[in-house]
Every structure is written in structure tokens, then in C-alpha cells.
């Protein structure tokens, strides 16, 4: 149960060179738009041909430029859930699902379709046409259709991008259920890191056409290897650094000196912290003697969401305008309600075990 990809393709002004492995557990292919995610997926499905490289599923070679192997898409047994779903508009839901199992004997075919209709909770839609379905229903049908032929690998191209937030949750849960029983390799293409984090175990982060990081998701989120990966994984607070001695760095952009735990062979270029790891308290309530990396801060601007607030903070001196800030903190609504009535400066803590250093 392994998908092996090592491909290269040149376009005008863009070079795709991607190498990774996916065995068993779903792997997320994460990256900003234009990073080569969809191109990689199309190459695996056999819809585009790489210039060089090798693609194999369970030791079965699908593409090998050296051995001149290029199995056509129809023989690859790679299922694709397209971003647009690509349901056949002239066929009913049941006929769409049956499309890929046509060569099976009638009773087996029937059984596969029944199974997919049941496990996708779409049995009541069997005789409907795609145009009469909602986006969420279409997505479930497309997933059922992709899985029905029992493909060796399953590629999901941003399957939730066309859906409302409230639909995503339910469909995401159903997708996780489906993937839990699916025995092949799954590649989940997404630019939404939270979604990718929930669905997959391992991440492959793409940036500018090449792999910037790959490995277990916890590892990549805790220690992003580069600035780019930190950005892709949702980190928003960065500062350039100077001096690196005695476990301390000077954060140039934040105007402060920080103690760090992480060890680096060569000097890091940036120090970073996630917005939800930045702790803000009233100054009086902070233990200034015994807390490291604690600084006075002022509020430049705040953006309120239903349950949390994003606060733009400036360290050391009050801001001159709302865009004059050093870092962002995510604060839960109840904490925010009690914090906002306290006079500034507040105390911001950049805990050493939450800071990470980025070479680059």
C-alpha cells in the first residue's frame, strides 16, 4: 500500500520537481495555489506526462521515463475526486457510480453500487441527476464513484473547496470514515492546513514546485524547517534575528531579546511564534520576575471573530497607527472581554518552548 512519486516537469517559467512517498495513512499535499499541487496530482492520475521520473503504486510502475513506461490513465487504477466533481450530467447518481465498474459481472456491479450508495448515505439520491443535487450531495456522489472500482490509490483534489463551512464539517467527518476503511494510498490535495491536519497523518508541503517539507504533521507544525513552510502551516509572526549566543537571540523586527531552547548549528535568520501561542495578560497580573520573554505591549488593532479575537500588538512602545504592530495574538473571547477593560500596557509572553528558529 504505497504510492511513490519522483517526477520532474518543466513549463514556461515554472519547474515542478516533486519527490515523496505515501504508505497507508492519508497524506496531505499542502501548498499555496500555484505551488504545483494539482500538476502533481494530474501526473499521478496519468492526465499529464512528466518530463522525467518515476511513479509507482504498490510496486506497480505507472510511469518511468528511463524504462519508457507510461501507463494510460484508464489502466492506472488511480481514483480521482476532482475539485469540480466532474459528475456525468446525463447519468443518474447510480449510473455515475456504476461507470467505473462496468466490466464486472452484473450482480457484482450491482453490489458495488449498492455498497457505495449505502456507505455514502446517498441511497435516496440513486435515480436523481447531478444537476438536481446540492454541492455536498455531488461531492459524496463523486467520492462514491471514485472509490467504487476499488482503486489502488485515491487522489482528492481540494474536495471541500466548493462547499459552505457548515457542510464541510459533516463531509469531512464522512471522508475520514470512508478513508479509514479504504485500503489503498490516499493523497489529499489542499491549501487549507486545518483540514489537511484533521484528515491526514503525514504532510508533504509544496512551495514553488518542489517539496519544502515532508513528514508527520505534528513534527512539521512544531518545527517547520523553513520560513516558507512556517507560512504554509499558518504561522504569522516572524522577526529577523541578530546575534545568537548563550541561548538568546535578538528579534530585530520586534525590538526585543528572546531566550530560545532550540539549538542550531548555524545562525538562524528568523524567529517565529504562532498567533495562538502568544499569551497576553494584564501587566499587574504577570509575574515579571520569574517569567522569561515577557514584555510590555500595546494594542494597535483588534479583529473580532465570533469566538476569538485577533489582536495586533506592539512591543515596547505604544503604536502610532493601527498598522504599526509587531505580532498577532489569538485570544479567546472571554479572556478578551476581561483584558480589554484593563489599562495598557499589557504583558505579552513569548514562551521559549513555543518559539522556533528558522534557517533560510
Amino acid at each position: 500500500m504505497a504510492l511513490e512519486v519522483a517526477i520532474e516537469k518543466r513549463f514556461q517559467g515554472f519547474r515542478l520537481a516533486v519527490e515523496f512517498k505515501a504508505d497507508g495513512a492519508p497524506v496531505a499535499l499542502l501548498g499555496p495555489s500555484g505551488s504545483g499541487k494539482t500538476m502533481t496530482l494530474r501526473a499521478i492520475a496519468g492526465l499529464d506526462t512528466p518530463d522525467r521520473g518515476r511513479i509507482a503504486v504498490d510496486q506497480r510502475v505507472l510511469f518511468d521515463s528511463e524504462r519508457r513506461i507510461n501507463v494510460p490513465a484508464r489502466d492506472r487504477r488511480v481514483g480521482v475526486l476532482f475539485q469540480s466533481y466532474a459528475l456525468f450530467p446525463h447519468l443518474t447518481v447510480a449510473e455515475n457510480i456504476a461507470f467505473g465498474v462496468r466490466q464486472l459481472p452484473p450482480d457484482e456491479r450491482e453490489r458495488r453500487v449498492e455498497d457505495q450508495l449505502a456507505s455514502g448515505h446517498i441511497a435516496h439520491l440513486a435515480s436523481r441527476y447531478p444537476a438536481t443535487l446540492s454541492g455536498g450531495e455531488q461531492q459524496r456522489v463523486a467520492l462514491a464513484r471514485a472509490i467504487a472500482p476499488d482503486p489502488a490509490a485515491l487522489l482528492l483534489d481540494e474536495p471541500f473547496s466548493a462547499l459552505d463551512t457548515h457542510l464541510r464539517n459533516a463531509l469531512e467527518r464522512q471522508l475520514r470514515e470512508t478513508l479509514a476503511t479504504y485500503r489503498g494510498s490516499t493523497l489529499f490535495v489542499s491549501h487549507n492546513l486545518e483540514e489537511a491536519y484533521r484528515v491526514c497523518g503525514d504532510l508533504v508541503v509544496l512551495a514553488h514546485g518542489s517539496v519544502a517539507a515532508r513528514g508527520p504533521k505534528e513534527e512539521i507544525f512544531r518545527h517547520p524547517p523553513t520560513l516558507e513552510v512556517a507560512r504554509v502551516t499558518g504561522c504569522r509572526n516572524f522577526s529577523r534575528t541578530r546575534r545568537f549566543a548563550d541561548g538568546r537571540v535578538e528579534a530585530i523586527d520586534w525590538g526585543c531579546t528572546l531566550r530560545v531552547i532550540q539549538n542550531f548549528q548555524k545562525p538562524p535568520e528568523h524567529v517565529a511564534i504562532r498567533a495562538n501561542h502568544v499569551r497576553v495578560r494584564p501587566w499587574e497580573m504577570s509575574d515579571q520576575k520569574n517569567t522569561e520573554n515577557l514584555f510590555p505591549c500595546w494594542l494597535a488593532a483588534a479583529a473580532e471573530a465570533p469566538f476569538r479575537v485577533t489582536a495586533d500588538l506592539r512591543i515596547g512602545t505604544p503604536p502610532t497607527n493601527p498598522t504599526d504592530f509587531h505580532l498577532q495574538a489569538e485570544i479567546l473571547k472571554p479572556d478578551w472581554e476581561s483584558l480589554r477593560i484593563v489599562p495598557q500596557p499589557w504583558a505579552v509572553e513569548l514562551a521559549a518552548d513555543r518559539l522556533f528558529l528558522l534557517p533560510d
Binding site: 492520475a45 496519468g46 492526465l47 494510460p72 490513465a73 484508464r74 489502466d75 492506472r76 487504477r77 488511480v78 481514483g79 480521482v80 476532482f82 469540480s84 466532474a86 456525468f88 450530467p89 446525463h90 461507470f99 467505473g100 462496468r102 466490466q103 441527476y129 444537476a131 438536481t132 464513484r145 471514485a146 472500482p149
Partner: protein
């Protein structure tokens, strides 16, 4: 009213439309999906009858199918007679003359099919041929029907090519349009008028019927 001419016209138009549906389909498919860089040359050749005067086309067909040229000789050696001034010759000329009226709407229909559906079909294990019959063709029926209707109607109304290649032999190559011309020349305006009216009504009814039914049946899965 010359029923012989009416029947002959119908026979010709039905045959041409049927032949063009079968011949036009692969040409249209190739024109739509081929990535050959010289494709435009083929497209231009297919479209030639649209702009050529029927007499020019008729002239070349007449000469080309005549006993002095290769195609004509080959035909004569196999069938024992030459093509010009026979129904077969008329049919061959009409098929060529109506080719663009069949190929272009069919190709436009193929072209309108979402490529992602074709790719989805491939990833589900369907061959190119299966994809054509199960995805491309069902989704471009409007184009195919339009091609069928246009080649039919165009053949009913053709005149110049018929006169050049078929001549004016009663029951063999004298179609309705030729008959109307003859009657008008002979000042039999009553007969000409009758035949013309029948032709007009018939053409209209056929077109209205096909457009009406195709829209209704094809609209089924489009409506929500």
C-alpha cells in the same frame, strides 16, 4: 406536382444525411481533439464547400469522377459504368458538398463537452472509444442532430452541384429543385408553385419537428 422528383429528393437527402452522420462523426472528432499542427489545413479543406460556388465544386467532381481520371476509372472498372449522371454520382457529390454542414456542428458539439468529464471517464477505466460513446456523444447530441438536420436540408435545397454532376434525368437525377427550375423555364407556374410550396412546407416541418423534439428530450437532464 412531380412526385417522382419529390421522392428522389427525399431519397437523396436522407441518404446524404445518414452517410454524413457516420462519416462526419470521426472527422469532427479528429478535428476537435487532434493536436496535429497542420490540422488547420484539413479544417480548411472540409470548409471549402461553404465558400466555393456549387458550379466549381460540381465541375471538379464531374471531371474527377469522369472516365478520364483515376477515381472515375477505378469506379468504372468495379461497377461497369461511370458515376456522373447516375444517382450514385449525385450522392457522392452531395455528400462532399454538404460535408461542412455536418462536420462543423458536430465538432462544435464535441468541443462543448467539458474536458474534465472526459478525463474523469479515463480515470474510471474507460477507453477512448468507450469514453466517446458513453460521455462525449451523449453530451453532444444537439450538435449531432443539428449536423443531421443541416445536411438534410442543405441537400434538399441544392441545385448547382446536382445540375453539374447529375444532369436532369427524370427519376434518376431530376430532384425537386431541378424540377421547379424546369417547370419555371417552361412557364408552368402552377406546377412550379405547387412543388415549391410543398418543398417549403416540408422543409419547415422537418426542421421544426427535429428542433422541437431534440430540445425536449435533451433538456430532460439539464432541468433541475
Amino acid at each position: 406536382m412531380n412526385w417522382e422528383a419529390v421522392l428522389l429528393s427525399l431519397k437523396l437527402a436522407v441518404s446524404v444525411a445518414a452517410i454524413l452522420l457516420v462519416v462526419g462523426m470521426p472527422i469532427a472528432y479528429w478535428v476537435t481533439f487532434s493536436r496535429w499542427r497542420w490540422k488547420f489545413v484539413v479544417e480548411a479543406i472540409v470548409a471549402l464547400p461553404l465558400v466555393l460556388p456549387p458550379t466549381v465544386l460540381g465541375y471538379y467532381i464531374l471531371v474527377g469522377l469522369g472516365p478520364r481520371h483515376f477515381a472515375g476509372k477505378l469506379w468504372q472498372s468495379v461497377f461497369g459504368h461511370t458515376l456522373p449522371f447516375t444517382f450514385g454520382g449525385l450522392l457522392a457529390a452531395s455528400v462532399l458538398y454538404s460535408l461542412p454542414f455536418s462536420v462543423q456542428p458536430i465538432a462544435a458539439g464535441f468541443d462543448a463537452v467539458d474536458r474534465r468529464l472526459i478525463e474523469a471517464s479515463w480515470t474510471l477505466g474507460a477507453s477512448r472509444l468507450a469514453t466517446f460513446f458513453r460521455v462525449v456523444l451523449p453530451l453532444s447530441t444537439v450538435g449531432a442532430v443539428t449536423g443531421l438536420v443541416l445536411s438534410f436540408a442543405h441537400t434538399i435545397g441544392e441545385f448547382g452541384v446536382v445540375l453539374m454532376v447529375g444532369g436532369n434525368i427524370p427519376g434518376v437525377t431530376r430532384t425537386v429543385s431541378i424540377d421547379i427550375y424546369d417547370q419555371t423555364q417552361a412557364a408552368n407556374y402552377d406546377v412550379a408553385n405547387q412543388t415549391a410550396l410543398v418543398l417549403l412546407l416540408f422543409s419547415f416541418l422537418v426542421l421544426a419537428f427535429i428542433y422541437g423534439t431534440s430540445r425536449r428530450t435533451l433538456g430532460l437532464w439539464r432541468r433541475s
